[in-house]
Symmetry: C2
Subunit: 200 residues, 2 copies
DNA sequence: CTCGTAGCTTAACGCTGTTAAGTGTTACGC
DNA sequence: GCGTAACACTTAACAGCGTTAAGCTACGAG
């Protein structure tokens, strides 16, 4: 565990920043401890002074990504009066975040579980805030009579999983080329949200 | 490109079978060309006589997985009279396939795109059959007046992406531990299908 | 001046995917 | 029957990987 002197935190921060940059620029598969170190002008082993191993470094980045996602989602839900419009805005913003930050998104939600098995499943605390945010929007909609009642957390997970499926398949380029991608994304969001709305 | 003599096909088949076995037994991260070869009693480089590289080997496995999935989905949709029940059955079977064959499923739908970038996106032909199967079930439902009309292929992609999201998050252990997994899966399938049904 | 230590490096281990070159066996034209 | 070509496979090697152990250097305190 690193101490918390200024110098320590400086290099730790630099490692995180460089890793994120390399991740976006060159992609996940080309990211190695040695490459990160080379870009920083340090030796590869220095990284181990601040992060237990490669997974721990990734995990720190995931945490940062969750924080970023939380901020954009929170911003997107402000200023709406209609709870349904607000819900739609949050969902659309989530999808946009995923598509605009593919490498980040993959790191956050798509790693092979085995690759992260050193970490307990409950470590994704910041992820919960994002789920709770969606759950809150759903609860508000239910209170207004526009959303079907139910366990808000199960509902939020369900809604989220539908959005995640859309983002994941687009990022992985698994959407059939005969299908228009924009139309698909629009339909995915509409159906995900729509399935929770009370029909009048 | 390997010739098609009998001996050739024998080892090719053995490589595929062993790889699948190792994948299930030890997981994706421990799968290496050398391990596969050791399990087979051959040298690692022999695999390159039958597969261009590791990705090509994985790709062949993906093709096999798509074929298996197609067979179970096809079987699951037979014997139903109500098109909606049939649609539900196909969706439930899809989710079950993913949860029962996690390693397979990950290989088929969740690899980092960069990891597979040597392959053109249109190579997933067998995957289309699965999409067309869902599209067919939706079209039948629409013909019976039980499913909302629309582009069947976009609808199928949307439905599929919702199911995929649920499977992917469960496999990646990203579902909040405070959420009951069974309830979540049930809700996910119900909402995915339900959003396409005509309300009476 | 000496000691401890903070911060970093070098060397090494065992692993990875992949290529180039080599080996032995088998089949065939003459 | 002999030379040759093709085939099926191996060995050796390269460059890179994550990670560990040990060592080095500079600096502040006593």
């Amino acid at each position: 565990m690193p101490k918390t002197t200024d110098a320590d935190l400086d290099l730790r921060r630099a490692i995180l920043d460089t890793t994120r940059t390399l991740l976006v620029r060159e992609g996940y598969s080309k990211l190695s401890m040695r490459r990160i170190a080379r870009a920083l002008g340090y030796s590869a082993t220095s990284i181990y002074l601040y992060f237990e191993n490669k997974d721990a470094l990734f995990h720190a980045l995931i945490d940062e990504g969750m924080e970023r996602l939380y901020r954009v989602l929170k911003a997107s839900q402000e200023g709406w009066t209609d709870p349904v419009e607000r819900l739609r805005a949050v969902c659309a913003r989530y999808v946009r975040f995923g598509l605009e930050n593919p490498e980040y998104y993959e790191l956050m939600f798509m790693p092979h579980p085995r690759h992260m098995e050193r970490y307990p499943a409950d470590k994704y605390r910041r992820a919960r805030r994002n789920l709770d945010l969606v759950a809150g929007a759903l609860a508000d909609g239910a209170a207004a009579g526009a959303v079907v009642p139910g366990d808000a957390r199960v509902q939020a997970s369900t809604l989220w999983s539908a959005l995640h499926g859309a983002v994941a398949l687009v990022l992985a380029q698994r959407i059939d080329i005969r299908v228009d991608q924009e139309a698909f994304l629009e339909a995915a969001i509409a159906h995900a949200v729509g399935s929770f709305l009370v029909r009048s």
